[in-house]
């Protein structure tokens, strides 16, 4: 058994910072509970704000202080994201509650424990190195934006205690690792006595007895310690030292994902919404990684604040649904798509809360990672490109051309929206599936088909005929070949009865003109039209 503990000492403060606008972390911030300040950031510490101060005292010391309310549910959502990120590495993940401040209020967890013995081979390479795994773990947690203290030990509680041990400024290493029980016991013996949860209540009594380290406590007679401080204290110490079993219930990964972020201030601009949504996306990516899945469709719901009381016209929320052509869990790509979509969206009111939920998942084998560009990576890149274009221009603006078997030139080709790029950079559309396979046959058929111009004008341009001569933009046209009669479409509204000619303008360019076989009432007697140009 090898347990890795991730201790988040600033969890509640960081989950509060996430609700603020970008760049607010540098300003003095503090979290408040009913009794007063519970935590403060570095800038606030510099101004003299310390946990335990009353609200009025803190504001007198630093009037510019941003005070937030401590919220256990918000902390739990932040910690859940860390748990999800950890679940990508091992199925047995659990949390350890923080030290109880008082007996009346149970402490919320602030430490995540992972049992990684079985995962070392996969993440740590053939030598089963722990630092290889930790490196990847750090990379997975980094987008969530937490300060993490890491420790590893053979027992879960031992690892949690090691991670919580105070660190001197520079003398101690950043991480504490005890690979076997004797090292762990030696380290714990030197640890301060208040590390144990229940010991905190008796902190002054222990201090008065001259007990500073856990080793001092162990040297006392057990029955006396149990009688005076309760059996929990010794029981916890025994579990940490590996002398008593410590079964843990692993956390199961939820089958559906939904997370939310209540913003501290109203988000008026896209940038502010995007700043909050970036964290939600990072949480979603952590969950997707643990699910070994890719997202196909997700929804960002922005809840609005009514402008005034009983405001019926402002909708309570706006939902932005993002459907992806190709399932993905790349946070950069998802954020680019979200940015483009948000830039187009006009929000009716400022947002006060963001909610992100995954609607549709795709499970597939993970892709091989390649150093050099290959056909696969090019296809991936093309997909990204098409998706980005579709996100900004609209899905109907990325099109492809399809050949249709119709003699009328305006119906011989059709534009359909491109939906996906197939392997080898090939494009697929929703409407046509079999056409892609017989495109070679189409090419052969096109060679035998009569000549058609490349450019077809959407609106046929009427031509002036004067003195048996056709004129285009003031220049004479010479008919070179024709007529080619096209007479079809009597069964639908677009009946065409035309004689087509290839004509040449005076500068030498070739154009395609036709003469209506019968006079058309709607064309006011004009019977010659320009339909195409030979590009």
């Amino acid at each position: 058994m090898l347990w890795v503990a991730l201790h988040l000492p600033l969890l509640s403060l960081e989950s509060f910072v996430a609700t603020l606008v970008a760049g607010a972390a540098a300003r003095p911030l503090a979290l408040m509970d009913v009794h007063g300040i519970v935590s403060a950031n570095v800038a606030a510490h510099a101004l003299g704000i310390a946990p335990g101060l009353k609200r009025a005292t803190a504001l007198a010391l630093a009037p510019q202080l941003t005070l937030g309310q401590a919220d256990a549910a918000r902390d739990a959502r932040s910690l859940a994201a860390v748990v999800h990120a950890a679940l990508a590495f091992t199925p047995s993940v659990t949390t350890q509650p923080a030290r109880a401040v008082s007996a009346s209020r149970p402490a919320s967890p602030d430490t995540v424990l992972l049992e990684v013995q079985a995962s070392l081979r996969h993440f740590g390479g053939p030598e089963r190195r722990l630092d290889g795994l930790l490196q990847q773990l750090h990379r997975a947690i980094a987008p969530l934006g937490h300060v993490v203290h890491v420790a590893s030990a053979p027992t879960p509680l031992g690892a949690a205690l090691l991670a919580r041990m105070p660190r001197a400024r520079s003398s101690l290493p950043h991480e504490r690792h005890c690979p076997d029980l004797p090292t762990l016991r030696a380290t714990l013996d030197a640890a301060p006595v208040w590390l144990l949860g229940p010991g905190r209540e008796h902190w002054e009594a222990l201090q008065g007895m001259g007990l500073r380290t856990l080793g001092d406590l162990l040297r006392l007679p057990r029955s006396g310690v149990a009688r005076r401080f309760g059996a929990d204290l010794l029981g916890e110490l025994d579990r940490a030292r590996g002398e008593r079993p410590d079964p843990r219930e692993p956390i199961a990964l939820p089958a559906t994902f939904e997370t939310r972020l209540e913003l501290f201030a109203r988000a008026d601009t896209t940038e502010q919404v995007l700043h909050g949504a970036a964290l939600l996306l990072a949480r979603m990516v952590a969950w997707l990684t643990a699910q070994h899945a890719h997202v196909r469709r997700f929804t960002l719901v922005m809840q609005h604040e009514p402008r005034w009381r009983k405001d019926d016209r402002t909708p309570t929320e706006t939902a932005l649904v993002l459907a992806l052509t190709e399932p993905s869990r790349d946070p950069v790509h998802l954020q680019v798509l979200l940015r483009e979509r948000l830039a187009q969206l006009q929000l009716p009111a400022p947002s006060i809360e963001l909610r992100l939920q995954v609607d549709d998942l795709a499970r597939r084998a993970p892709l091989n990672e390649e150093l050099f560009p290959t056909a696969g990576s090019e296809r991936e890149g093309l997909l990204r490109l098409v998706e980005r274009l579709q996100a900004r221009l609209g899905p109907a603006q990325v099109q492809r051309l399809v050949q249709r078997h119709d003699h009328r030139p305006e119906r011989g080709s059709e534009l359909v929206a491109a939906t996906a790029v197939l392997p080898g950079g090939r494009v697929a559309a929703a409407a046509v599936t079999q056409a892609a396979t017989n495109s070679a046959a189409n090419t052969k058929a096109a060679l035998q088909a009569p000549v058609r111009p490349i450019w077809l004008l959407a609106e046929h341009q009427p031509l002036h005929a004067r003195a048996h001569q056709l004129w285009l933009d003031g220049r004479a046209l010479h008919l070179l070949s024709g007529p080619e009669r096209i007479e079809t479409g009597w069964w639908d509204a677009a009946l065409a009865e035309r004689d087509y000619f290839i004509a040449q303008t005076t500068d030498g360019a070739l154009v395609w003109v036709y003469r209506t076989r019968l006079p058309q009432p709607e064309t006011l007697g004009c019977e010659w039209f320009l339909q195409g140009r030979f590009g």
């Binding site: 056909a375 090019e378 296809r379 890149g381 093309l382 990204r384 490109l385 980005r388 274009l389 900004r392 221009l393 603006q397 990325v398 099109q399 492809r400 051309l401 050949q403 249709r404 030139p409 305006e410 011989g412 080709s413 059709e414 534009l415 080898g424 950079g425 090939r426 494009v427 559309a429 495109s439 070679a440 189409n442 090419t443 096109a446 060679l447 088909a449 000549v451 058609r452 111009p453 490349i454 450019w455 077809l456 004008l457 959407a458 010479h478 070179l480 070949s481 290839i502 040449q504 303008t505 005076t506 500068d507 030498g508 360019a509 070739l510 154009v511 195409g532 140009r533 030979f534 590009g535």
Partner: protein
């Protein structure tokens, strides 16, 4: 070895790019070849070279005049047209077909009119594998065209790009595209109006196209990495007309040329009449 003169000894002991001692005296006679030093260097009368192999255009006469012997990769190629429909797609046809054969994508940005799938298939293109991006319908014309084009060029995953740019484009916009094109491993063609020839361009290759009769195209090299080219290059495009019709076309051109000469005088008289009035 002790019979070597001191100068030769110094040269031999120096670093590798120095010339061997036997040719030290021949430096003055040998022609200077800066193009061997770096692909970005060439003499005024030479054609420049490309770092990457160029894509053959399918026209030997044109390839001779293009630096690197074809359409450049990783750079913009500017084509100036009086109006669409003078044979520009047929000019690029061979290059586009080669790109598709290599399994890469051809993207078209804002074509000026509808494309006929049958005519493209006749050129040998796989019609279903063309991607058309239309951006004209947006509020500020051109802003999305340039954005989309830059994204496509930057991604480096597109085989060939054809873009019809909005008129009167500012030079720095084109320079931005040219920078993005450096990541694009393939030819990138931008079509612009003829009036753009008056303004400088960031694209290393600029051609002016003009119809020169039926199924013929006159290509003027307006800018290239090499000496300026005086006359246009005349190219025979893949034919649209039958042999008999082609014959008629040549006669029509000759007729209109003589007719134009005859009509010149009355046109002048009309103009002078207007001035007097």
């Amino acid at each position: 070895m002790d019979v070597l003169p001191p100068a030769a000894f110094v040269a031999a002991s120096a670093s590798a790019p120095r010339r061997p001692p036997s040719v030290v005296g021949a430096v003055q006679r040998a022609p200077l070849q800066p193009d061997l030093l770096h692909p970005a260097l060439w003499l005024g009368h030479q054609l420049g070279r490309q770092a990457d192999a160029a894509v053959p255009s399918g026209f030997a006469a044109l390839d001779q005049q293009l630096p690197g012997g074809g359409w450049p990769r990783r750079a913009l190629t500017e084509l100036l047209l009086p109006h669409p429909g003078i044979g520009e797609i047929r000019l690029l046809g061979a290059c586009l077909v080669a790109t598709q054969r290599a399994g890469r994508l051809v993207m078209l940005f804002d074509p000026p009119a509808d494309l006929s799938a049958w005519a493209l298939a006749r050129l040998g293109l796989d019609v279903e594998q063309l991607l058309l991006i239309s951006t004209r319908s947006r509020l500020i014309a051109g802003s999305d065209t340039l954005w989309a084009l830059e994204q496509a060029l930057k991604s480096g995953h597109v085989g060939a790009v054809l873009a019809w740019l909005p008129p009167r484009l500012r030079t720095e916009r084109l320079r931005r595209l040219q920078l993005a094109a450096q990541a694009h491993d393939g030819p990138a063609f931008v079509f612009r109006e003829v009036a753009a020839a008056q303004r400088p361009t960031a694209a290393p290759l600029r051609l002016g196209l003009r119809a020169a009769g039926a199924d013929r195209l006159a290509v003027r090299v307006l800018k290239r990495r090499g000496p300026p080219l005086e006359g246009p290059v005349h190219l025979e495009l893949p034919t649209v007309l039958s042999a008999a019709a082609g014959q008629r076309a040549q006669e029509a051109i000759a007729d209109s040329a003589t007719a134009g000469a005859r009509q010149e005088e009355p046109a002048l008289r009309t103009a002078s009449f207007v001035n007097l009035a």
